[in-house]
Amino acid sequence: MATTPQLDLTFNSKDPWSSDTVMIIPLESSQVLMPESASILSIHAFLKMCKLPYTVREMLNASSIAGNGKVPVLKSGPYVLSELESIIQLAAAKSVSLSANLGLTEKADLRAYMSLIHIVLGNAMLYAVWLDEFVYRNITIHRVGSPFNFPLKYLVPWIQRRRTRAQLKGLKWAERKPEEVKREVETCLVSLSERLGDGEYFFGTGPTELDAVAFGYLFTMITTTLSPEHNFGQLVKQQVNLVRFCQRLEKELFSSGN
């Protein structure tokens, strides 16, 4: 897989946000995996919070489009991006930013919490989907192999599993037991819950990038059941304010008005 670093892309700030911006995702009903769903929902939330228009297109080869294997892929004018960081930078170049009014320490905090979510919740989902035998055999293999016939039906998931395992090994997640993963997730959720407290949003009085990412990951965890052993939804439900946060944002962003 060619790794294409995207963070050093300079965006043209003279053109307005492209009106034919499209978000490319794998097939929702039969192909997308839980960690991908979380990223996709985060970007939906971010773009809706910024009120930037876009359409959605489902493609079987969505994960190969950007070159680094990540979804969703945002095609906006001449740019093809697949990481939230790059999309935030693109929006900033078009003078749209959710955290512009935050102070420097708050901005640093924001980044720290976003990192926390990506690292803990993101890797926990990757662990559950790829390394858990039950989930892999019953869900992942069929979803990832669904666009293909024999032999790629089994070869592509197998290769992706090896790659993910190597990636998680490097991050020291591969050797963890399910109980350890559960504990890590719980700790992260407690931390988020404390940060949110009684407020409507994590920072200030308006939504920020952190709200978009938190919503994406938490909502996906509540609404996706993988297996009895990896029931992330149960863990989120233990933090009542996080559940209310998700319900509120869902109504705010995805009700029929939007």
């Binding site: 897989m1 060619a2 294409t4 995207q6 892309l9 493609m59 079987l60 080869n61 994960s63 190969s64 489009i65 950007a66 070159g67 095609k75 001449p78 093809v80 666009p147 293909f148 016939n149 024999f150 032999p151 790629l152 070869l155 592509v156």
Partner: protein, 455 residues
């Protein structure tokens, strides 16, 4: 038989001899030097010798058999010894024929340089000829190209008995081919089964099955979206038939003869890829006085996807047109540049035709004749062609034909060609594009090409 008349300065003239009149009966044929080669593998080639009745036939037949033995690629230094039979069991007019051969070593390795369309590569090759004595050959190649392409292949070939020069081979390969003109990297891993035979003199057939796992990925951040849309994995399981009829006197600068090549591929025997692809080439060479040669060639191809899935075919299966050399040759235009493009990526097409007319001549005033000059030719050419991304579906047939004939491109020019052995050619041409569209990348002036296939 020519009679030599003696002069004062020549040596004594040889008496003329009528070899047709010498009766011959071949008593025995032996082959010396066989170590691992199995006897029965050689014996069937020797049988025709027993049928000869005259000395001239004996010499011709023995030479023919020597060529056959050379083609087996098991021996080097094949010598023939014909002698009268001096043993006690000799018959009247009895002769013995002995072939002396030296078997190839069990292992031949080498490093070669190969020339492809405008790029060079280094190949590390290892061959194990005549593996178990009946002409089998195991070969392992690893090629590293100048533009990051890499290719490894391991194959085993076995000739089959019978009158059709049949051979069968099986190989496994792994290629990585970057295509910088369309900004993608193509990787293929798979296997190929082949059955090659001759159905008539100089008509070769190759029936192939290929099963390969292909991966296409964008090669840079600036790869355009139409190319990105085709990236991903697919498995191609296809049957292919290649027929080549080559009556030319030589492949590089032929002076007479016809070449007709037909390639048909059906992808869809399982796997994800589903398409039918036809490609054909016709080349006619006519010799003229003053050692000039007129050459006309015509190439056509069409690819028809068999379903609407995104996996049915990708940009690597398509045809391209344009360039100084290679299968997409159209002089006067940039490599692969004709047809639809997106940003700076060339997208190729599903149907194409191209034609060329050449007038070849040797170097004037017999410059270097007999030595280095023979490797050069001068030529004047006119080439034309067109390519389209629509394909010949029944509803669209008329429109596709019209599109192909309407905006065709053409260029003419002069140039000089140089032959690299029997395998490749270098051309330096001065081109004048004649018909082209505004957005085409034309080459007005000098164009250099190096490669194996040319139009």
């Amino acid at each position: 038989m020519a009679k030599q008349t003696p002069t004062e300065t020549t040596s004594t003239s040889l008496p003329s001899f009528n070899f047709q009149g010498v009766p011959v009966r071949v008593d025995s044929v032996s082959v010396e030097g066989l170590i691992r080669t199995k006897d029965d593998y050689i014996q069937r080639h020797l049988k025709p010798l027993f049928k000869v009745t005259t000395f001239e036939d004996l010499m011709l037949k023995a030479t023919e058999i020597r060529q056959q033995l050379e083609r087996l690629e098991c021996f080097r230094d094949i010598g023939i010894r014909i002698d009268t039979n001096k043993t006690a069991q000799a018959t009247l007019n009895g002769y013995t024929v002995t072939f002396r051969v030296k078997e190839f070593r069990r292992f031949i390795g080498g490093v070669n340089t190969t020339v492809g369309a405008n790029e060079g590569s280094l190949t590390f090759a290892m061959k194990l000829p005549n593996l178990v004595g009946r002409g089998e050959r195991l070969s392992i190649d690893h090629t590293i190209g100048s533009i990051y392409n890499k290719s490894s292949c391991i194959g085993i070939m076995k000739p089959l008995p019978g009158p059709w020069n049949m051979e069968t081979s099986a190989s496994l390969f792994n290629h990585t081919l970057p295509n910088n003109l369309s900004s993608y990297i193509f990787q293929a891993t798979g296997g190929l089964l082949e059955l090659n035979f001759e159905s008539a003199k100089k008509v070769r057939h190759s029936m192939q099955y290929e099963g390969s796992w292909r991966q296409l990925e964008p090669s840079s951040r600036s790869t355009s979206f139409p190319v990105r849309e085709q990236s991903g994995h697919s498995f191609k399981s296809s049957l292919r038939h290649i027929m080549t009829l080559d009556h030319r006197d030589e492949p590089m600068f032929p002076t007479r003869g016809i070449l007709f090549k037909l390639v048909q591929e059906y992808a869809g025997v399982g796997g994800d890829a589903a398409f039918v692809k036809h490609d054909s080439e016709l080349q006619v060479n006519i010799p003229l006085p003053y050692e000039l040669v007129v050459q006309g060639s015509l190439k056509m191809g069409v690819l028809r996807p068999l379903d609407n899935s995104i996996l049915s075919h990708n940009i690597h299966d398509l045809f391209f047109l344009g360039g100084p050399s290679g299968p997409s040759t159209l002089r006067g235009f940039d490599m692969k540049s004709i047809g639809s493009k997106s940003q700076k990526d060339f997208l190729g097409g599903r149907a194409y035709w191209c034609t060329a007319l050449h007038l070849y001549s040797r170097l004037p005033l017999s410059v270097g004749r007999g030595t280095w000059g023979d490797y050069f030719r001068l030529h004047a050419f006119l080439n034309a062609g067109n390519i389209t991304s629509s394909t010949f579906i029944p509803e669209d047939f008329g429109t596709t034909c019209q599109t192909l004939l309407q905006d065709f491109r053409a260029a003419y020019g002069l140039g000089i060609g140089f032959r690299l052995g029997n395998a490749a050619r270098v051309e330096l041409n001065y081109c004048f594009p004649l018909r082209f569209l505004k957005e085409d990348s034309i080459v007005q002036g000098v164009q250099f090409g190096i490669g194996i296939d040319f139009l």
